[in-house]
């Protein structure tokens, strides 16, 4: 099988999806090759932009844009630094307008970060959340009486944990659990999946509402683990609110996380319907490259090798989790093109002595170094390919886990990389 395309995106995580979305709209014939499901199913689905800066001080920032300006100033090699404030703003604005108009009805609080309650009973700052978490923010910020409800046998979520950790700051918060026998037949083990299936069934919601109503008391909100269906969460929330007469919200959980999976599913659906050729599974196994130019990629799965001819290639392969980087006992490698990556000294220095401490593990800042066009560079900062660009977590110089900047880096660099492709194409005389 042979395919031709303008842009081959390697990686189907948030970065790859965002870039494909933009590229296709700009008229580029786009192919995405994703090896795995991407990282989104393992995130809260909340979009972080930048909430902690500098990470050494663990300083929480109410205004991500203010923090971003400072970061760009002081860390020009950070992915945000590479793109700059204007590009970052434009990308976030455009992408959020799309998500806000879509079925997940993402929500943000103007230009500022918001705080939401997590399943650990912690408060997490973020920039935008899907409709199912909008009232999570509202309930917490107003500290209105709320019932946090769990399910007997669902070990991913303990309502008591949420309440115990927040009750000193949130009066009128209470915890309850529903016995599975009230809701379900049989003795199947209770899982997030099973509950999601059930919440999509009107009969179940009816039974559920009947069981919950007597527990509500003075509560104005009902907080539930993020299990309210797979792809109709807005409708499920609305329906529950009508039945119960209180605000209903979801609380993000331990992985795998349905809010993240919903976002991934939505993006993939929209891409495929817009004509992007999205292929998951068989990975890119090798590339044809000559004189700093990549002309084709080969994908090998259980069938014969498949060749994809591409004018431009975007590396959006993620870090260690996504498979873009791999470490062995000797060092760290970039897996697609063996791009230059420097590990922070020998292995004893890769991580701090504390798992959760500040400022973050040195290895988290390892990645691919790029120029301002997001082209990978070699020694001396010179681009090593004329038609390869890099975006997302695989980039060097950031620590998204500690900065709380994961989604932002994906969106901002995903957009910027497509801008670079368009610019390179224009220079090469190719019209769109």
């Amino acid at each position: 099988m042979k395919t031709d395309c303008d842009l081959l995106i390697v990686g189907g995580g948030l970065t790859g999806l965002v870039a494909a979305w933009r590229a296709q709209r700009e008229g580029l014939k786009t192919v995405v090759v994703a090896q795995g499901p991407g990282s989104l199913p393992f995130t809260s689905g909340a979009l972080d932009l930048l909430a902690v800066y500098p990470t050494e001080a663990k300083r929480y920032r109410e205004s991500p844009w203010e923090a971003l300006s400072e970061l760009i100033e002081t860390e020009p090699e950070h992915p945000y630094g590479r793109v700059g404030l204007r590009g970052a703003r434009a990308a976030v604005e455009d992408f959020l307008l799309y998500l806000e108009a879509g079925p997940l009805a993402y929500y943000r609080r103007g230009e500022e970060n918001m705080a939401i309650v997590t399943g650990a009973g912690t408060i997490k700052p973020t920039y935008a959340v899907s409709v199912s978490m909008k009232k999570n923010r509202l309930a917490w910020s107003r500290r209105r009486p709320a019932l946090i409800l769990g399910f007997e046998g669902l070990y991913e979520f303990s309502p008591e944990q949420v309440v115990c950790n927040l009750q000193d700051r949130w009066g009128g918060l209470k915890a309850a659990r529903l016995d599975r026998s009230v809701l379900l037949d049989g003795d199947r083990r209770l899982t997030v999946t099973q509950l999601a299936f059930e919440f999509e069934r009107p009969e179940f919601r009816d039974r559920f509402a009947g069981a919950v109503k007597p527990l509500l008391g003075q509560s104005r909100f009902l907080g539930l683990p993020a299990v309210l269906g797979f792809d109709r969460v807005a409708a499920v929330c609305r329906d529950l609110e009508e039945r119960l007469g209180v605000g209903v919200f979801e609380i993000p959980l331990l992985t795998p996380s349905l809010p993240g999976m919903r976002l991934a599913a939505l993006l993939k659906r929209d891409l495929v319907e817009a004509g992007v050729d999205f292929r998951q599974g068989a990975p890119v196994s090798r590339l044809d490259e000559k004189g700093g130019h990549v002309s084709a990629a080969y994908r090998t799965g259980k069938s014969r090798e498949e060749r994809i001819l591409a004018e431009y290639v975007l590396v959006a392969t993620g870090r260690f989790f996504g498979g873009g980087l791999e470490a062995d006992r000797q060092g760290v490698r970039e897996m697609l093109l063996d791009l230059q990556v420097e590990a922070p000294g020998d292995r004893d220095n890769w991580h701090m002595a504390s798992f959760l401490g500040a400022p973050g593990h040195p290895i988290n800042r390892v990645g691919v170094k790029v120029d301002s066009m997001l082209r990978p560079v070699g020694p001396g900062g010179v681009p090593v390919y004329d038609n390869v660009f890099v975006a997302g977590a695989v980039l060097a110089g950031h620590d998204w886990v500690r900065e709380k900047s994961g989604a932002g880096i994906s969106v901002v660099t995903g957009y910027a990389a497509v801008d670079s492709v368009l610019a390179a194409r224009a220079r090469a005389g190719g019209g769109v």
Binding site: Y155, N165, A327
Partner: protein
């Protein structure tokens, strides 16, 4: 709190537990103090190997004999803690033929059962073993779970009236001429002071034995030898694999529960706390073990841990590998102390014998002439008297727990098992936290190293009202940090991906590192 007893045992490792049981079986009232939880020292940081004695036949025949005897005894009385895997000594092409000859004759002299293995059969039985093995011998090595062993000994002693206090650290001893008149301790979790009045004191504090001795003014000459071990996330071998050469680094591979344990090395250290395994130690152990089992080169390692062997010094300059791994019972009468006994050295395999010797001395001093019967009566949970095979040991992987309710997915630890452990901990007045549950189950021992199951366990403790306020989340962070020490040296390949996922969840999704 004031405690009066006949014998105070210091140290909650397997030796202390064995001593407590032996005392109790001889009708002697005893109390055990442990400054942390069970097996916090070397008892929890070894191969989990029930030696056949083969390793010691050439260089240390006395130890070999002891091991051979105790191997038989423990397979009988501690069958519930032993998986009778069998073991092999394998000579690789580069190993010296002379040692093979010495090994065979020394085995005959020391009573260690050795049988030459057919190499073709062996390749079928152990497909991951180095194919270029020039000779192999079967020995009755077995895999032994040190946590179950200690717990079973403590349980046996408790049933006979002995008492155990964890998180209770001995801080000083009041001496009255030739006797320790009072031992002072403090309970770490509550800050409560404990005063113990005992006729006899037995120190089974492992490498801390010299520090305990010093509190009473006894001078013990101990060197600290750190040994590191690495574990993979699955079993690559079916039997214990020993390198047939003079004992050296990285020459034993043990299948234990759901992991393969490889090690160890021997590095002198000056301090006992904050033991770490360096990247270079890890690399060397992987390289050495891979010579016997090449798949270890690319296997997924999940953890490193280090224990300290207390080496009893005759001469401080003797090389550590040459120092006898036999144990020593110190009768402190020579220091002018009539009621202190210290015991040090030895190994998991000989714990029962060590206890017997220590208790023999204490009994003599107390004028008790009950004989030792610990070699005859099975431990609780070992009533069948036949060691289990792998599928019995790992039954939990096959049969889902009742209701399918699993808190730990790597090791398939069910809610019911945790409920039982929690009930037992409460009964014994033991602090309840994920670490205590981990030590008494396999929770947190698998690939995720507590990342997922630790979280679920905290949720469970909140659900049951066993923690309240923010304490549970603090416990969780503490649990994760404690596991981290053993995780950090192993972060490359898949285990680095695992760490990155967990960090993304805890810091990214849950913001547990900086909740607003």
């Amino acid at each position: 709190m004031r405690i009066e007893t006949q014998v105070l045992v210091i140290g909650g490792g397997v030796t202390g537990a064995g001593i407590l049981r032996d005392l109790a079986m001889r009708g002697i009232h005893a109390v055990l103090l442990e400054r942390r939880d069970l097996n916090a020292g070397a008892s929890g940081a070894n191969h989990g190997l029930l030696h056949s004695g083969g390793r010691y036949v050439v260089a240390d025949p006395a130890s070999a004999r002891e091991c051979a005897r105790e191997n038989e005894v423990l397979k009988r009385i501690a069958s519930g803690c032993v998986e009778d895997t069998g073991g092999l000594f394998v000579a690789l092409e580069e190993d010296k033929d002379e040692y093979i000859v010495d090994f065979i004759s020394a085995a005959a002299r020391t009573g260690v059962s050795v049988e030459q293995a057919d190499l073709k059969e062996l390749r079928e039985e152990e497909p991951f073993l180095q194919p270029r093995v020039k000779a192999a011998f079967r020995v009755p090595d077995a895999s032994m779970n040190p946590f179950l062993t200690t717990e079973a000994n403590l349980e046996a002693a408790r049933r006979l009236g002995a008492r155990v206090f964890f998180y209770t650290q001995v801080t000083s001893m009041q001496r009255d001429r030739k006797r320790i008149a009072r031992v002072d301790a403090i309970q770490a979790k509550t800050g409560e002071a404990v005063e113990v009045f005992a006729d006899q004191v037995v120190s089974a504090a492992g490498p801390w034995v010299d520090q305990i001795g010093a509190l009473a003014g006894a001078d013990l000459r101990i060197a600290y030898s750190k040994g590191s071990l690495l574990i993979t996330n699955s079993r690559l071998v079916n039997r214990v694999i020993n390198r047939l050469r003079p004992p050296s680094d990285g020459d034993i591979v043990v299948p234990g529960e759901t992991v393969t344990i490889t090690g160890t090395n021997s590095i002198r250290v000056e301090h006992l706390d904050h033991l770490r395994t360096s990247a270079s130690e890890v690399d060397r152990l992987v390289e050495e073990a891979s010579r016997m089992v090449p798949a270890l080169e690319t296997a997924r390692f999940i953890r490193a841990y280090a224990g300290v062997r207390p080496l009893v010094l005759a001469d401080r300059d003797e090389p550590d590998r040459k120092i006898s791994r036999a144990f020593t019972v110190f009768d402190h009468e020579k220091d002018g102390l009539e009621n202190l006994v210290s015991i040090a050295g030895g190994k998991l395999t000989t714990y029962r014998l060590m206890a017997e010797k220590a208790v023999d001395l204490v009994s003599r001093r107390l004028g008790v002439d009950e004989p030792c019967r610990t070699a005859e009566i099975p431990l609780p949970g070992s009533g069948e008297g036949r060691a289990l095979d792998t599928s019995q040991r790992l039954e939990r992987l096959r049969v889902p727990p009742p209701g399918g309710e699993v808190l730990c997915e790597c090791e398939m630890v069910g809610r019911q098992q945790i409920e039982e452990i929690v009930a037992e901990l409460r009964k014994n007045g033991h602090p309840i936290d994920p670490n205590a549950i981990r030590l008494r189950s396999r929770l947190g021992m698998g690939s995720c190293q507590g990342g997922f199951c630790g979280y679920r366990t905290i949720g469970y403790l909140y659900e049951r009202g066993l923690v309240s306020s923010k304490k549970g989340n603090e416990m969780l962070a503490d649990f994760l940090e404690k596991r981290w020490n053993g995780i950090k040296p192993m972060l490359w390949g898949e285990q680095l991906r695992q760490e990155q996922l967990l960090e993304a969840i805890y810091c990214g999704s849950l913001n547990i590192d900086g909740s607003l």
